[in-house]
């Protein structure tokens, strides 16, 4: 008490802690993510010219955006397709990952091996391995066979469901989902892992209490597991949306890249990137606000 020391108020101290803890992350973030991002918005409104000793930007206003939307032959079509595809895939991936994680969390022999198998697509999807695969004839065959849906054909299912008088829109969704099973499994490795981590973070005491109260497995799932995992459903939905939009094989990402380093110029490419970014932001905002209504926080 007697120390002649500068004392901070509680709020100030909290603020200081907050800033100190965020700082190491924030420095890199600002330098390598925020600044390049703002730069590319600037590029999108300019014409980039390479001159001796560097580059020069000539402001052109919204011309690049106009070109992307109204003049470019492919952009709009690829754009709409990419957005639509994501909207179809995201719920499927999240739901699949959720149930797969629940199963992989059960105690059974060879569980770690089973987890490895579901994480394999993430490992095999990495740069160098993918390159080798694409160079391999049989691997290409294998992949395309898997993509054609050799397992369950959507068309067969469609006929069957049609007999059951299921509405056309639902029908289309289900059949397209069946055709994409291999892709969905391949895209859910990280999500399964996140859900697994979530399942392991649920305090064991909750389940013990439930056992004492005589919960059935059904009640345990709906009253403990699902609410406790709900924040991660939001996390995974966000991750899936972002992943499917930014993965290198996404046709629009390819278009952005080929425009930048091919013919169209960096300004146009940046404009496409920004448009795409805005549409993801809108989708995320909508999805986020829908899902967060069902999210339960334990505080």
């Amino acid at each position: 008490m007697g120390r002649p020391r500068f004392r901070l108020t509680r709020t100030r101290r909290q603020a200081l802690t907050g800033i100190l803890f965020t700082l190491p992350f924030a420095v890199g973030f600002v330098l390598f993510f925020l600044y390049p991002f703002l730069q590319s918005i600037r590029f999108s409104m300019s014409q980039l010219q390479i001159v001796a000793g560097g580059y020069r930007l000539e402001p052109v206003g919204l011309a690049n955006y106009r070109t992307a939307l109204l003049v470019h032959p492919e952009f709009l079509q690829v754009f709409v397709e990419a957005v639509f595809r994501t909207l179809v895939d995201v719920p499927l991936i999240v739901v699949f990952a959720f149930f797969a994680a629940n199963l992989l969390n059960q105690p059974f022999k060879g569980r770690t091996l089973a987890r490895v198998v579901f994480f394999l697509p993430v490992i095999m999807g990495a740069g160098i391995i993918l390159q080798m695969e694409s160079a391999d004839y049989m691997m290409t065959q294998l992949r395309s066979a898997a993509n054609e849906g050799g397992l369950l054909s959507g068309a067969v299912l469609r006929n069957f469901l049609y007999e059951l008088r299921i509405p056309e829109a639902t029908l289309d969704y289900v059949t397209s989902a069946v055709d994409r099973i291999p892709e969905i499994i391949r895209a859910s490795g990280v999500q399964i892992l996140v859900f697994l981590a979530g399942l392991q973070s649920i305090p064991g005491s909750l389940y013990e209490a439930a056992d004492v109260e005589g919960f059935t497995s059904w009640e345990r799932f709906w009253l403990i597991t699902l609410p406790m995992l709900s924040p991660l459903i939001l996390t995974n939905a966000v991750y899936t949306i972002i992943d499917s939009f930014t993965v290198g094989t996404n046709p629009l990402v390819k278009l952005v890249r080929s425009t930048a380093f091919g013919g169209g110029g960096f300004g146009l490419s940046s404009a496409m990137g920004v448009l795409y970014f805005l549409s993801i932001a809108v989708i995320l905002l909508i999805a986020g606000s829908i899902i967060s209504r069902f999210v339960f926080y334990d505080n």
Partner: protein
Amino acid sequence: MQIRQKRLTRSAGGDFVIFFVLFLGAAFSALPLVFAISNAFKPLNELFLFPPQFFVRNPTFDNFRDLFVLMGESWVPISRYLFNTVFITVAGTGGHVLMASMAAYVLAKHRFPGRDVFFAMVVLSLMFAYQVTAIPNYLTMSALGWLDTYAAIIVPAWSSSLGLFLMKQFMEQINDSLIEAARIDGASEFHIFWRVVMPNVKPAWLTLIILSFQSLWNETGGRFIYSEELKTLPYALNQIIQGGVARAGVGAAVGVIMMIVPIAVFVLNQSKVVQTMGAAGINK
């Protein structure tokens, strides 16, 4: 007298259906790996057999031997490439987990000016494919003088937004009373973070380690690193397999070697997760 109670449990038939579906999914994922391993042990004549065979008939270690011979001939010793990759992966992953967790902790559990804006920006930055920011990013590196140094790969990995996002979501689940209790006991903020918060989100950061390791292990450093002695293992192995058709067998061997390490890390990591679960039961 014994009370007989019919318990609602899953039927064996239901279990079978569920595991059958899981197995089909697993088969889809595992097939390419099995094929890649089988390929790595094929002699050259089997690799080019038409129609291709899925399984190897006369397994041989020739491909691996050739790979080591090629490695030995490389101008920069292969151990140097290996060191570079291990260094980048360990430094990048360690720093990322620490920094992202620290930031996530205060974003989840503290109130300070600019917090919400900062988090919103992090989420926004997740949406940006790196292709879009490639050129500005290069210019930043060049201005900092970090081109052709480890820092060009490691420092951006520290601040990758995904880790922060993930850790924050997990840390929000921690009960505030736990942190309050530690604070009343006089723990410093860093102590609370390190001793209270982090052990409680162990599954989360173990997951983050896997994700970060996976991406850095495969880093070729192609955009930022030019000096041969600073290049990474994936880059060197890529060079080897670019040698054309004759290197097909070596390429298969390379693939297996590159995959083994992340798989081993994954297995090790997941066995740790199971221990966490046990520990949590005792603590609570």
